[in-house]
């Protein structure tokens, strides 16, 4: 059963939002979960965290940045086109309850999965402080949406073109230093950002949760390709996660495993570009 693209928008350069028609996935989805899609018969299965879902309308929102061949190909698809496979929801949902004040940190395209969490934490009765960041102002996504579900919203950019000039973790540290009572911190973004955040929050002893994005195939625990080291134990991110206690995650191992197929990914993307230019796709 193909899954139709109902809406497509380029949020900022190279980052796209798509609403995908998938009734049963939308009905079952919860914050913190992900989907795995495969564009066509020859496609790779790639995991993407769910950015939003509407059980009534029967669609799921994904937000992705162009990274390699699959995301590039996906970015060229249009409203009305269909994706061959869209499996989900996968992973254990976030454990969201009323805790008090919660900080949600999203970096880059990681703001997408932070959004439904912020909303769910707020609906559960928490005071939500959101901190979002990007390299520069023109790459920042979902600012308005985040503002609508947060009690406080802070922005950081690497180049200072908007909000705090620096990293999201600087703001986290500032809030923790101010002595405010923080019950939990959730951080989603590039692995290096999550690693830094884990280091920043550790001395304060505040529970910090990260959502990991290792390489996956099936997403049901079958291949073990997504194994990560948490507290010295091998865990499968697809079924034991994707969320883990940040203080226990071996981020260096995660980053190393993520780089495993760099040369193949490059080759695949180049081949695709080449095919593109021969007019086999819709790039023009």
């Amino acid at each position: 059963m193909p899954y139709r693209i109902l809406e497509k928008r380029e949020l900022v350069p190279n980052t796209y939002l798509m609403k995908i028609e998938a009734q049963d996935v939308a009905k079952a989805a919860k914050a913190g979960q992900f989907i795995i899609l495969r564009i066509d018969e020859r496609g790779e299965r790639i995991p993407l965290t769910i950015a939003d879902y509407d059980p009534n309308e029967g669609h799921v929102t994904i937000i992705f940045q162009i990274m390699g061949k699959t995301t590039k190909q996906l970015s060229k698809m249009s409203e009305g086109d269909s994706i061959e496979d869209f499996a989900g929801p996968l992973g254990t949902p976030s454990d969201i309850e009323k805790l008090g004040t919660v900080i949600l940190v999203g970096g880059g395209v990681g703001i997408a999965p932070i959004y439904p969490q912020a909303r769910a934490y707020r609906e559960a009765g928490n005071y939500v402080i959101s901190i979002i960041g990007a390299r520069s102002a023109d790459l920042l996504i979902l600012e308005d949406e985040m503002a609508a579900v947060s009690d406080e919203l802070y922005v950081a950019t690497d180049d200072g073109s908007k909000g705090h000039h620096g990293f999201v973790t600087d703001i986290v540290k500032e809030i923790l230093d101010s002595g405010r009572d923080i019950a939990r911190i959730v951080v989603i973004g590039p692995p290096i950002m999550m690693k830094v955040a884990a280091g920043v929050t550790k001395p304060y002893g505040v529970e910090t949760i990260v959502s990991l994005n290792p390489i996956m195939i099936d997403g049901t625990g079958m291949c073990g390709g997504c194994r990560v080291s948490v507290g010295g134990e091998a865990k499968f991110a697809c079924i034991d996660g994707p969320e883990f206690d940040a203080s226990k995650v071996d981020f260096d191992l995660l980053m190393s495993r993520l780089s495993l197929y760099h040369s193949e990914e490059k080759k695949s993307a180049e081949e695709y570009e080449h095919r593109c230019c021969e007019g086999e796709c819709k790039c023009r």
Binding site: M1, D24, V25, A28, Q33, R38, R42, G43, E44, R45, K69, T70, E84, D85, F86, A87, G88, P89, L90, I217, D218, G219, T220, G221, M222, C223, G224, G225, R227, S229, A234, I239, L253, S256, R257, S259, L260, Y261, E264, E265, K267, S268, E271
Partner: protein
């Protein structure tokens, strides 16, 4: 009496360069000669050895008289997947082991004849089966491997509306992600699935039960449920270095190659590390499959590391022989101690230790004991762990009533395959732990009988 007919095969030096099927099947003449060897025993022992009780002398006698259509019909009465079973069943442990000819001579090549019939039918075009009269009852089948496909086929033939829920994007379970193309061409699985679709079975792919729908939901929406989710969770050894880049579970390696067609990268998008020196840990069929795939991907040397001796290897003899012919190196009585890392978190070798066989253990096999001080290093850039799998817990995520063993397998009544939840049967590797295709099919068949009885008579056979 003629001798047992050999089956043609691709030559080892050719086949290691392709993923095409190794065994090529009988010609009509060879099949006729082989069939003529069957004594058509009054009390056929072979049938007792078959987990789905195929009328073996029945189909072979039809080959003898040249009535292949009838032979196919007899086969399909008890086996919905003859082309698969003819290829991957361990006949030497089952039907052929019991063949009376085998006592003094070689047994009838039952598996090859089964394959011959199924291939004959496929080449001719499988007739579309008639849809039975609907009973109005609905059955959910979770998992589309051999157990699920068999249960689905039998229940559909009985007239029930069957829906299969499959987690992956393709139907067939281990038949498509696990067993390689050169042992079981995927087009064959596709055709067998087409047959089941023609019986009216509705198939939903990309449905991970336990996530998208719960077992409790299926119980409410359907009159009965069959769980055939397999044993998909790969085991690791728990030794140092298993998370290094270049270490794969056999499941991941085989899934990339078979399901995702990584051997056709970059024509297909999924990549795989090919490796120069590949070490596969384990001695079962899965280890043989992984080793032979690695060789076909272009490795310079592939070796199997197994802690016991040749005799104890659980793989089929035929597969071990095929692997040997292809040049796979067997490092027997050898156990990995740790996996060695290079500067960039990548595998550079495996430290192994020599073993010797001691007293028999619980399984009756002699226990391997490490020989102190015998450590040595095998150079490797890819390591594949093929030491077994355990059932996947995802399906039970929301069902507390379903009783499972401490090892994660589902508890069933062995006669009926009914679980602790009324109206829910289970079978295959999810119940037994990793076993064979045909034993899973046998369980699917048994469960279909139970479910049929349960929904038509409104009671459990336990009552």
């Amino acid at each position: 009496m003629p001798v047992r007919q050999k089956m043609a095969e691709q030559k080892p030096e050719e086949r290691i360069k392709n993923f095409n099927e190794v065994a090529l099947g009988y010609t009509a003449k060879e099949a006729a000669i082989e069939a003529s060897r069957c004594l058509e025993c009054k009390k056929p022992k072979c049938v007792e050895g078959c987990p789905v009780n195929i009328d073996i002398p029945g189909f072979i006698s039809q080959i003898k008289v040249g009535n292949l259509d009838e032979a196919v019909k007899v086969l399909k009465e008890s086996n919905a997947l003859p082309a698969v079973c003819g290829r991957v069943c361990p006949q030497e442990e089952q039907c052929e082991k019991r063949c009376v000819l085998g006592k003094k001579n070689q047994p009838v090549a039952i598996g090859r004849l089964e394959r011959f019939c199924a291939d004959y039918e496929r080449e001719k075009g499988v007739p579309i089966p008639k849809k039975p009269t609907p009973t109005g009852k609905k059955v959910a089948v979770v998992g589309s491997g051999p157990a699920g496909l068999t249960a689905a086929a039998d229940l559909a033939k009985a007239g029930h509306a069957v829906t299969i829920f499959e987690a992956l994007h393709e139907i067939g379970g281990v038949l498509v992600y696990g067993i390689p193309e050169f042992r079981l061409p995927k087009v064959i699985v596709k055709e067998e699935v087409e047959y089941i679709k023609h019986l009216g079975v509705d198939i939903k792919v990309n449905y991970v039960i336990g996530r998208i729908k719960t077992l409790d939901y299926l119980r409410k929406e359907f009159d009965a449920v069959f769980i055939g989710t397999g044993a998909g969770l790969p085991k690791f050894m728990g030794i140092e270095g298993e998370n290094l880049n270049g270490v794969y579970s056999a499941n991941e390696f085989l899934t990339r190659v078979n399901l995702m067609k990584a051997y056709k990268f970059p024509e297909y998008d999924t990549p795989i590390k090919k490796g120069h020196h590949v070490v596969v840990v384990g001695g079962g069929n899965v280890a043989m499959d992984a080793a032979r795939c690695a060789l076909r991907l272009g490795a310079d040397e592939v070796s199997i590391v197994y802690r016991r001796s040749d005799e104890e290897m659980p793989a089929r003899r035929e597969e071990i022989e095929h692997a040997r012919e292809e040049g796979i190196v067997f490092r027997l009585l050898t156990n990995p101690v740790r996996i060695l890392s290079g500067d960039n978190n990548e595998v550079v070798g495996v430290e192994c230790i020599k073993m010797e066989l001691g007293e028999p253990d619980d399984s009756g096999r002699r226990r391997p004991v490490a020989i102190k001080g015998s450590e040595f290093v095998v150079e490797a850039d890819i390591v594949i762990i093929a030491i077994g799998t355990s059932p996947n817990p995802v399906i039970f995520a929301d069902s507390k009533e379903l009783e499972i063993t401490p090892w994660g397998t589902i508890i069933v009544d062995e006669e009926t395959m009914m679980t602790s939840v009324n109206g829910v049967c289970a079978g295959g590797d999810a119940v037994t732990g990793a076993a064979t295709v045909i034993s899973a099919m046998g369980a699917g068949k048994k469960a279909a009988v139970t479910i049929n009885k349960y929904i038509t008579e409104g009671k459990s056979t336990k009552d």
